[in-house]
Symmetry: C2
Subunit: 386 residues, 2 copies
DNA sequence: ATGAAAGCGCTAACAC
DNA sequence: GTGTTAGCGCTTTCAT
């Protein structure tokens, strides 16, 4: 006589409710009589099994040395057998160590994109504090257009002798010697945003720029049955050291590469920031490209183009990056068709978490943590802003 | 004499490297002399400040009663002043309580979508175990097509007397009495997947179905300059109790609602599962709809349509849900244009985490946790599969 | 090289 | 009502 049979045929609310009440007063069948708790093994247990003290087990676990071969062997064998899982909570409580982190990113005050990264770091920090983990975080902000300021900050970061570093290595060549030094002094670091393979970072967190460009190409040409005449536009960027922008461009072009070459025309433009002399003339020239069907802006400065389109009441496909306030406006108005979300906030948050987990729990993060390429349109934007 | 000035003008790698070495042997400027550690306040400190014992403070913190008004007042005032943040890690270590959870979801063995949910739960569980938190989880799987089996499982869940419940309330009417009982017995529960407002759950985790339908409409018609002749297709679903499918449908239609009524034609179809009699005839009829430009499948069974399209070498816009293996194939081949990702894995994972945080840390989750409506296409799919 | 013991901050049982 | 105290599992220091 199971609940099932009882319920069959009871198809209206009244009767169902009655059933519930029925069960409330009925004796409760104990469905959990056999709980089979595996009772987690503690260091103490291992010590007992090996006939040594807790201290010795701990020394073996952490390779702190000062253990005789025989003792070490005994412990290690047991460890292998039982698949010991340390209680991480007890671990952090026990070791009252404080860790120093250094964060090297562009100044969040000067760029909304990096503002979001900064917020992500703050978020991760307060999360950790909640759990009783206190990291002393040192912020080194550089000017993303001045290589020397980047270099200065890497130096400062290094000299603060941190236990770990989170860095956005926007300057390729200026980064390499820093990474080399970090490697030598065995300071773990996580890189976000810009992927530098040779860095041999503990972890890279960001997106696949090539694929990102390819995705932009798919979106810009989706449903386009006529000619493919598109432009890729870099705004206020020095391409010589920005590998990830070059990658985006490559990806974008690769999408059109294979077939229908005769009908595809992809052009690259590079223009200064809107407050720079020459901007107006150059954006004018770009927008006046004959038969231009769409533009792909390689950074979050997409709104710059949207603004010009609006001013001219011009409608072409426009694809760009990131959920900045300025971009959202134009996305809603229809001047931007799609944004690809790079999620700087989550990148940074995860970066800090990775470092914390590594330092506190010896948990090794994935070498490559590629974020999803999130497509944002007018109708899912709100679901992203939660 | 800052690092900055030293570096200016040093524009090639050699010299940069030299700089680093230079600094390595130079005396290290201590940038962290004033660390200003706020030294987190402990219960012990509060006890001292209030001139009471730790026990009393604890009783006040947790409303355990047995505290004189005067003592309680003193403690409360101090608490308010200093903005006490308990050390959550110490908390879990200290209270060695074990919590019982009950999970009520469709059988993961019979549906790949729910398989992913199940995996999310497992993931959350193992994460928690890692941290020394052991939840005893009770799985109650029901048949998503049989209301009675759902009812049976809710009863079982209730009788296991859990500390919290995670439930996918697929059956609207059958859910209500259960929620009522849960409310009466003050058992907190989190609902995933299907939103039932009246449930008054601790938290709902899922997507905005209406908006999801609207997004599908945007995607299905994007770049379509000609007629809008689209169909919405429910496969193997009993709409009478599936509010969220009805919502999707409403959202989809609402997108076309306002303007250009004369050129838009939106039809609704409902067909049985592919292994049911009548399927072939009915899908045939759907695909033979004159001038059909696209189909929107309301569930993860999108591949069913894609398969039929492939068989007929037919290409129309196809939008559907979720990253099932079957769907991915057709997305890559181009028979599916976009998938909207509902992320069942993350929904479930977060559900368990919410319950755990609530029970262990008294952390109240958001009443409404609406997930982003993730758009998946051929070119970002890999970034989602990581 | 090894073991004993004192914490880490909080909980909960137990005297008074 | 209130204070004291013994844990929770691990780290770390200090004798030995």
């Amino acid at each position: 006589m199971s609940a099932h049979t009882l319920c069959v045929g009871a198809h209206n609310r009244k009767i169902q409710t009655y059933h519930y009440l029925n069960f409330l007063i009925a004796p409760l069948p104990d469905l959990h009589s056999i709980l089979m708790e595996p009772k987690n093994i503690r260091i103490k247990d291992i010590a007992e099994m090996a006939g040594v003290s807790e201290g010795t087990v701990d020394r073996v676990l952490h390779n702190r040395g000062k253990v005789s071969k025989s003792a070490s062997d005994k412990v290690k064998r047991i460890l292998a057998e039982i698949n010991y899982k340390p209680n991480l909570i007890a671990r952090t409580l026990g070791s009252n160590r404080n860790y120093q982190l250094a964060i090297v990113i562009p100044n969040p005050e000067r760029d909304p994109y990096w503002k979001q990264s900064f917020e992500g770091i703050k978020q991760a920090e307060s999360e950790l504090v909640q759990f009783g983990i206190t990291l002393a975080i040192d912020y080194l902000f550089f000017d993303q257009h001045v290589k020397e300021s980047f270099q200065e900050m890497t130096l400062k970061a290094f000299h603060s002798k941190p236990d770990g570093i989170l860095i956005a290595p926007l300057f390729y060549y200026a980064s390499m010697p820093f990474f080399k030094v970090l490697k030598e002094s065995r300071i773990p670091f996580v890189q976000i945003n810009t992927f530098i393979k040779e860095a041999e970072a503990l972890s890279f967190i960001g997106q696949d720029s090539f694929q990102s460009g390819k995705l932009a190409a798919e979106l810009i040409s989706f449903g386009h049955t006529n000619d493919h005449n598109f432009g890729i536009l870099h705004i206020d960027e020095d391409l010589t050291h920005s590998i990830h922008l070059i990658e985006k461009e490559r990806g974008f072009k690769s999408f059109f590469g294979s077939d229908n070459k005769e009908r595809d025309q992809i052009q690259t433009f590079s223009i200064p920031a809107p407050d720079q002399p020459g901007f107006q003339k150059q954006i004018e020239a770009v927008l006046n490209t004959p038969n231009l069907n769409g533009l792909y802006v390689s950074t979050s400065k997409t709104y710059v183009v949207a603004r010009e389109l609006e001013r001219r009441r011009l409608k072409i496909r426009l694809i760009g990056y990131d959920l900045l306030e300025e971009n959202l406006d134009f996305l809603r108005k229809g001047y931007i068709d799609f944004l690809i979300h790079q999620n700087p906030r989550r990148q940074a948050k995860l970066g800090v978490r990775s470092l914390a987990n590594y330092l506190l729990f010896e948990k090794i993060p994935p070498t490559l943590n590629l974020f999803p390429l999130e497509i944002i349109s007018r109708n899912n934007i709100d679901s992203y802003l939660n």
